[in-house]
């Protein structure tokens, strides 16, 4: 585990962890809410990067794991009064099992067919849960206020959820880094470049892909458990929101596809940009009142188009290309 001692990894962890500590030290609840969202998007973007950036399989339906993990954990907490940490872990493991079962057939598909299938899986799951009564159907499920008593009341539960997301975000970054630097990760990148050649060289692509898919499913599942625990309510259209899924692909592209820091930078920039636009006051244009809260999608679109057309490597990819020296340090 030489890679665990890599200074680069520790610099990222100290920077991210240091920022995450600020609200815990100052007790600033509004900063905590902002950082919660940012760390959540960092986790989603970093985890989708593991399958998409390293292996080259574009998962449009990554959010299905977020929703499933959330639903599993919520169900256990509400119906069996299970402790949150245990419920989240079981939800995460359960989602991994689902990912393995789905991954074995679906990962045989390549390119556009795989991308379409992941959209199909997410939509199938969303419509299924909408009709599935044990999970509350279209209305979803919600906690009694007393559920939070075990965690010292609703106010403390919010802090607890924040601590949990910090741990999960740091863990995701660490795992993403370790995979990238490992022999296993090298195999994944070989699959990305040329699957058939990788197979000839002794890599078992089917096995490697399914393992990666399951790993990339674990983190969004736990994140979903935390997010819906914090919200106290879960419903299908929020849990399986395809737009959120595709937004995390945009973040990965923005920061740099297949890099460790890229998704973090991309998630931070995208999340900050959309919340700035959402809170900006509306303007009047040609007699129509236009609010920026809607325009953030359009601006994200223009940004994405510019990146895809001109800076395919994203921010980190551009840095690596522009300054060859940083390639040794910047992963």
């Amino acid at each position: 585990m030489r890679n665990l001692l890599s200074p680069f990894l520790w610099i990222i962890l100290v920077v991210v962890g240091g920022i995450a500590l600020i609200p815990i030290l100052t007790g600033d609840a509004s900063l905590r809410e902002d950082l919660f969202l940012i760390l959540m998007t960092v986790t989603l973007a970093s985890s989708v990067n593991i399958i998409m950036g390293y292996t080259g399989y574009v998962n449009f339906g990554h959010i299905v794991f977020f929703g499933l993990g959330g639903y599993f954990a919520f169900f256990l907490m509400q119906n069996l009064q299970m402790n949150f940490v245990l419920a989240a872990l079981i939800g995460g493991m359960g989602t991994c099992i689902v990912a393995v079962l789905l991954g074995i057939p679906v990962l045989r598909l390549r390119g556009a067919y795989f991308a379409l299938a992941t959209i199909g899986i997410n939509e199938a799951m969303r419509t299924f849960v909408t009709n599935f009564d044990p999970f509350g159907g279209a209305v979803g499920m919600f906690f009694n206020y007393s559920t939070y008593d075990a965690y010292g009341g609703a106010k403390n539960a919010l802090w607890f959820a924040y601590d949990a997301i910090v741990v999960v975000a740091l863990l995701t970054i660490t795992v993403s880094f370790l995979i990238k630097k490992s022999k296993f990760g090298l195999g994944l990148m070989a699959i990305r470049e040329d699957q058939d050649a990788a197979q000839v060289l002794g890599i078992d692509p089917a096995r490697a892909k399914v393992i990666t898919y399951a790993i990339s499913a674990f983190f969004p599942a736990i994140t979903g458990a935390i997010f819906f625990f914090k919200n106290g309510i879960i419903e299908p259209n929020v849990a399986f929101d395809l737009l959120r899924s595709i937004e995390s692909l945009v973040m990965v592209m923005l920061g740099g596809y297949g890099t460790v820091v890229g998704p973090i930078v991309g998630a931070l920039v995208y999340e900050r940009m959309s919340s700035l636009l959402i809170t900006a006051p509306p303007i009047t244009l040609l007699g129509v009142s236009v609010s920026f809260s809607q325009l953030h999608l359009a601006i994200a679109g223009v940004l994405l188009l510019l990146i895809v057309l001109f800076v395919t490597g994203g921010f980190v990819g551009w840095l690596r290309q522009r300054f060859p020296r940083v390639r040794r340090y910047l992963e």
Binding site: G120, E123, V250, V288, L295, L297, A298, T312
Partner: protein
């Protein structure tokens, strides 16, 4: 369950299926010619709805004349979109074109929600109802289906009988060989992209004359188009039409047997299964 109910929901499903097929043909044509999955497809369907809405409700045009405008606009929009967002990355890996077309989706939907919010709109067209007894059909649906069939016939005429259409098929078959034969491939790719988005816009316009819609309505038609296209074979326009009719019939008839909510679950399950078992669709892939 009675026979008239079955007949009437079959007719309904069949008619809806033809409109679905029209939209899906646009998606599949683009994929067949240039291996690009147009993720802005749903947004363009929505655009068609709002073009018809603005022209009829705001400017007082005849709704079907507005559909003709949507046709021209769709062609122009597609050609412009091809040169702005797709041409530069046409040979890049799939991810790139998926994200480029998705960027266009974000721009359209973002601007659309800013202007129209997500409240429902409708174009009121009343052409009466036809039929007898329990089996009745709305006049708007009949006109929409007739138009959809005419446009489909026009598309086939274009693809198989005109020089431009034959060139498009040549480009789909082998782009470099087509180029060597003196075909301007960039122009043909742009044209086929334009025809693809044109079909999406028209079907959006026709759907607007039948149902209420919001700026986000295109999304569900887009996923439906994916299901249909995969069912019929990616890149195969005839397959898209057949797939559309199958999905339309499924939606029409299955509501007699099960709660409406379960229909999409079956659609998506079929979608994933077909991808896994027969990725080339029921009819195989070809243009």
């Amino acid at each position: 369950m009675s026979l008239p109910a079955l007949v009437s929901s079959s007719i309904d499903g069949l008619m809806l299926g033809i409109i679905y097929g029209l939209a899906a043909m646009g998606l599949t044509l683009i994929f067949g010619v240039m291996r690009v999955i147009n993720l802005a497809h749903g947004a363009i369907i929505t655009l068609g709805m709002f073009v018809v809405f603005l022209l009829t409700v705001r400017l007082g045009l005849n709704p079907y004349l507005a559909v003709v405008f949507a046709l021209i606009l769709g062609l122009a929009f597609g050609i412009a979109m091809y040169f702005i967002a797709v041409h530069r990355v046409i040979n890049a890996p799939e991810l790139t074109t998926l994200l480029a077309t998705f960027a266009v989706y974000l721009v359209i939907i973002g601007l659309g929600t800013a202007v129209f919010t997500t409240t429902p709109f409708s174009v009121n067209v009343n052409l009466g109802t036809y039929g007898s007894g329990q089996v009745t059909v709305l006049g708007t649906k009949i006109v929409a289906v007739v138009l959809a069939i005419l446009i489909t016939a026009g598309l086939y005429y274009f693809l198989y009988r005109t020089r431009a259409g034959k060139s498009i098929r040549a480009v789909a078959n082998n782009r470099s060989a087509a180029e060597l034969m003196g075909i301007n491939t960039a122009a043909m790719l742009a044209l086929s992209f334009g025809v693809g988005t044109m079909l999406a816009m028209i079907s959006g316009g026709l759907l607007a004359t039948m149902f209420t819609f919001t700026i986000l309505s295109g999304d569900s038609y887009e996923t439906k188009s994916f299901v249909i296209v995969v069912l019929g074979g990616l890149g195969n326009p005839t397959g898209a039409l057949v797939g559309g009719i199958i999905i339309g019939l499924l939606e029409g008839i299955s509501t007699l047997f099960m709660p409406v909510g379960w229909v999409p679950v079956i659609e998506y399950a079929v979608f994933v299964l077909i991808l896994l078992v027969r990725p080339n669709g029921l009819l195989g892939a070809r243009v």
